[in-house]
Chain length 356, copies 2
Amino acid sequence: MTETPIGLRPKPRAAIERMAPYHPPTSGRVGAMRLDFNENTVGCSPKALERLKQALTGELLATYPEYEAVREKAAAFFGVGADQMTFCDGTDEGIHILIQTYVEAGDEVVMTWPAYPMLRFYAQVAGAEPVLVPYCEPDLAFPLDELLAAIGPKTRAVLVANPNNPTGGAIGLADIERILEKAAGAAVLIDEAYFEFYGVTALDLLPRYPNLFVSRTFSKTYGLAGLRVGCLFSQAENMALVRKGQSPYSVNVLAAACVTAAIEDQEYVRGYVREVLEAREELLAALRRLDIPYWPTEANFVLVHLGDKASRVVEGLAARGIRVRDRGKERVGAVRFTVGTREQTAQLIAAVEELL
Amino acid sequence: MTETPIGLRPKPRAAIERMAPYHPPTSGRVGAMRLDFNENTVGCSPKALERLKQALTGELLATYPEYEAVREKAAAFFGVGADQMTFCDGTDEGIHILIQTYVEAGDEVVMTWPAYPMLRFYAQVAGAEPVLVPYCEPDLAFPLDELLAAIGPKTRAVLVANPNNPTGGAIGLADIERILEKAAGAAVLIDEAYFEFYGVTALDLLPRYPNLFVSRTFSKTYGLAGLRVGCLFSQAENMALVRKGQSPYSVNVLAAACVTAAIEDQEYVRGYVREVLEAREELLAALRRLDIPYWPTEANFVLVHLGDKASRVVEGLAARGIRVRDRGKERVGAVRFTVGTREQTAQLIAAVEELL
């Protein structure tokens, strides 16, 4: 007679069993110079922080969140109807609920690669076949023809980050329209996490394409990564379906309390973007001077090729309190530098120079 | 030639198409006496609020959350290993990731009914067959024999809230063990959202049963419903699988910053529970005096039978700034009163008396 354990361990779905765990390195970042996750490196709009502090009461914390008024305001800012968007617990939840709405086990989900890991992650959770279309060599240009060719009758979703992470490149609306047309009947997600640094948005195409979904986040430019809030957009008929499978309270009440203040303070957003774009120019100039190859970027980060010096630089920077992201798994010798302020970038450049 | 729309609208999964939208009534609750969602009615521990305020900086908001240290502390409090739990974006996310780990489309998910709506919701999202076992009439006793009989070879999950909402009743560990044994090889979730008012926990069974999952929330007793944080527990081998499909950042940084302060302030928790249990006695005495039938409860709410007076009472209370929850959809004439403080309960009783 056995005493323990009693009963049988449940068997997971095959899809979960075969996927690899994804645990990004996220401990001990507080206090370091965070040039590893493409967050805003200085903090959100002081007005958003002030709004949050004013709203913060025990009563508010004790109450389930309400989104209606906030969604109305955000929708007006984005130029869509309130029924054409939903707030999400970060873009991650947006990807999750989009895929669970449209993708069955065995379906194909087409995406370029390398890309934001959560795109493949949720395709795997669904038990779908991720079809990974590699960026073009050697310049990591967008593989438009290959992507179009990969879209077939079993394709239920096409996921494109624009600009893409970690490569940094971006495409224009004409290319996006070709994807939307080829993928008619499949859900096409354009993830615009880095939109503010690039300025081209597929939101303008929303009225015309019933298969278009767009995601935005407040984690990057807006400096609210810790609060976990993003938006997913599509035509109202689609959003009604997507929201059917969404928890009614997935975004916390403090995010809801301050996100409109963050949106309203476009002066802060413009100022931060201007600073980052200037710093990016300075970083690119330094990379050229140091003979470090890099790939073109439209976002607040640069993917650089450090070859066999990659781990020495990453570790040396960490020892100096500067965290950057080793992307060697996606591409041997590649490291991603987030671009912060000019001051932070100057420190990064000096440290890299010292290490080489 | 058509100009708009271009392309075809994507077709949702059949599971999403056939489920009904769930939109709990959640607007305009701020400022009202919230006796409708079983939240803490006064606010969280002042120490948790203080901890949150101290942690609150633009730098923290801009940074992706880190959970390691917090999870260690919480696990020690709950008497489990850090690898036996995960924080969730409310219990909703816990249910979601549990079901997506174990349940395929077409599988059976067995639960008592009526229950917390999100239990059926995520079974439906998965495309599973929810097998609803009704509570016994007329006393809404737990249908143990019927539940055991409903567990069959296609059962992949069994979901039981203990105490249950909205009925209020609870079961003991012996009954839970019978369920765990009958459902060997299926995931059994015991949702303990109202644990603090009841005091019996299945966490003690965790080492013995490899098919046991337990969920807890900080939304009810702890007064942090707005922050969206709960926990899911199971043996480490199971949690590693469940976490494979969980976003690495689903819980926001402010919840992570103050949840251990909330846990550490057990004096606050005990005081709030004591107050609610006293208020509940007073409410039950008043219901008997007023000849209003009610069902036995082990939680911070009471399901009462108001029959054809239900909507008059619900609306009359709303007009007096007191929100309660009409459960007529689950049971004709039933209304659920959350139990708050003695003072709030006295106001509720006076208003109900006036309306009858």
